[in-house]
């Protein structure tokens, strides 16, 4: 579903150029849930953002469903319909109601009729458990509710892949569970997911593979059982010691 070959992303700052993603190659199969962990600044977000072209990378290749997203004939907007993304800070559209947040892109990007878009939106809001807030503005919702709306908004485009960048990091602890529950359900339904998170419980329960990133590289790629009990790399061991 996702194939990454020798991905390189360099940030040219004022000081030293930072290789935020440094020669990363990996793949995510259809229906697979991959959790990406690693210390702060290790390049997890940058890597994820390269997958849907939010970040322009300097070298390498990203294939989504076989399509080279940086290809000269590729329309990135068409690829992005198939790749949903959920952000740490939700990024809901504050000037639109919850329902409108879900229908806007369906209508202007997928060209769905209002009735169809509304129906899809309400079905998803029901699924994430906030149908009754459909006509509220996002600012009236709690963080957990907002993040569930954001997930529903991405799902409304019927993507083939979902990317999550620390979806629960900005939430109060008591709201983390409700968002993780939605993500777990999504995983059970067979959604292909790449998730950056610090929720090790989620990784252990849901992930087929855990990628450990450090300094822009994937140092470890293993099933959770193996990763959490017998990490190979000393840096992964040190990281786990800190977070567990």
């Amino acid at each position: 579903m996702i194939e990454v070959k020798n991905l390189l992303k360099v940030f040219e700052g004022r000081g030293q150029p930072v290789r935020a993603v440094d020669d990363v190659s990996t793949a995510v199969a259809m229906g697979e849930v991959v959790v990406i962990v690693g210390p702060s600044g290790s390049g997890k977000s940058t890597f994820l953002r390269c997958l849907n072209g939010l970040e322009e990378f300097d070298d390498g290749q990203v294939l989504i469903d076989g399509i080279d997203i940086a290809g000269s004939k590729t329309n990135l907007n068409t690829v992005r319909r198939e790749v949903g993304m959920v952000f740490q800070h939700f990024n809901l559209f504050p000037h639109k109601t919850v329902l409108e947040n879900l229908t806007l892109a369906q209508r202007v990007v997928r060209k769905r009729k209002a009735g169809e878009a509304n129906e899809r939106a309400m079905a998803l809001l029901t699924k994430v458990g906030i149908a009754e807030k459909a006509n509220e503005y996002p600012s009236r919702l709690s963080g957990g509710q907002q993040q569930r709306v954001a997930i529903a908004r991405a799902l409304a485009m019927d993507p083939k892949v979902m990317l999550f960048d620390e979806p629960t990091s900005a939430l109060d602890p008591e709201m983390v569970g409700e968002v993780l529950d939605v993500m777990k359900q999504l995983a059970r339904e067979g959604m292909t997911m790449a998730v950056v998170t610090h929720e090790m419980g989620f990784a252990r329960e849901v992930a087929q593979r855990v990628l450990f990133m450090d300094a822009g590289r994937i140092l470890e790629d293993a099933p959770p059982a193996q990763f959490f009990t017998a990490p190979q790399e000393p840096r992964a061991q040190a990281f786990l010691k800190q977070v567990l």
Partner: protein, 320 residues
């Protein structure tokens, strides 16, 4: 819980009133000093006045009757060629029964309400400001978008335009626009005036819009683009609607300035409120009264506008 002790406010209001009374008194004393004779009664006629209009007979003939009807009189003219009699209402009669009347001879005067030069000037000021504000908004929107564009040509042009306009006085711009561009393109003075004002305000609006767009968090664009929206759709549906709400207060200030700045077009002989004021003064010598009145009219227009924009702002605040 005990509230913080709040000192009474009324002594300050009293002081405010005292200062205002003092200022008024000072003004009065000052005008006494220069022996200025206030003639406020001369002002209303410049808003609207009753004009004497001669009533002309449409036919040649003889006055056959004059019927009084309150303040009005009806002069009946029987045409010489034997047609039906014509009734002409007048307020002051200038003919007598039996008089012979030619076509287009006046049979008397009647009065009509006419709008005076102050009202006319006010109207010119309002519509010139309105049109140049609208055009300026369009220019500002386009320039603002060019200003943050990735294309160096567009960005360069936008910066050049903004800097040129913001670095030179409006009065000079009006002269250049009128005497140079206006002559080259053979523009009417009104068009030249509106053009100069629109270009002027456009540069400021461009900066307001740029700041507004840049104040919208990057995450909004990222969310929109990640849903597959194009850069244009992102602007149209996500960024600009939110930016518009934020730029409303500075835009309001800019439009209010525009109304005041529009007084400068009087230098190219556009009869706006300011120029009307100047013309009236040459005829009436009521210098202070007219300038105070002109100032008051500007104040009324700008206050109404700021009320309107305040109301708009509240409507847009719905989603907060």
């Amino acid at each position: 819980m005990a509230l913080k002790h709040r000192p009474a406010a009324w002594p300050w209001y009293l002081l405010l009133a005292a200062i205002l009374i003092g200022l008024t008194a000072g003004l009065w004393v000052a005008t006494q000093r220069v022996h200025y004779e206030w003639r406020w009664e001369r002002v209303p006629q410049y808003f609207a006045y009753r004009a004497e209009v001669p009533q002309e007979s449409p036919v040649a003939g003889r006055v056959s009757a004059i019927q009084a009807d309150g303040a009005l009189s009806r002069v009946v003219v029987t045409p010489a060629d034997g047609g039906a009699p014509v009734v002409l209402p007048v307020e002051t009669v200038q003919v007598a029964i039996g008089d012979a009347i030619d076509r287009e001879d006046s049979v008397g005067d009647h009065y009509e309400w006419r709008i005076g030069p102050l009202t006319q000037g006010l109207w010119v000021t309002i519509w010139i400001s309105f049109v140049s504000g609208l055009v300026g908004l369009l220019i500002g929107l386009i320039t603002g978008l060019c200003r943050i564009s990735d294309n160096p040509t567009l960005r360069g042009l936008a910066i050049l335009y903004i800097e040129l306009i913001r670095g030179t006085p409006l009065l000079v711009q009006i002269f250049i626009f009128y005497f140079f561009i206006g002559t080259v393109l053979n523009l009417d003075r009104i068009v030249a005036g509106i053009g100069a004002l629109a270009l002027f305000v456009g540069a400021y609006i461009a900066e307001i819009i740029r700041a507004g767009i840049q104040s919208i968090p990057k995450g909004q664009t990222e969310a929109a683009r990640s849903l597959g929206m194009s850069a244009f759709q992102n602007m149209a549906y996500i960024v600009l609607p939110q930016a518009f709400k934020r730029v409303l207060p500075p835009l309001a200030g800019q439009f209010i300035s525009l109304i005041k700045d529009s007084s400068l077009v009087s230098v190219i002989a556009i009869t706006d409120l300011t120029k009307s004021g100047r013309e009236i003064i040459t005829a009436s010598f009521a210098t202070f009264e007219i300038w105070f009145t002109v100032a008051l009219l500007y104040l009324v227009v700008t206050s109404l506008l700021s009320q309107l924009l305040f109301w708009l702002e509240r409507r847009f605040a719905r989603s907060d």
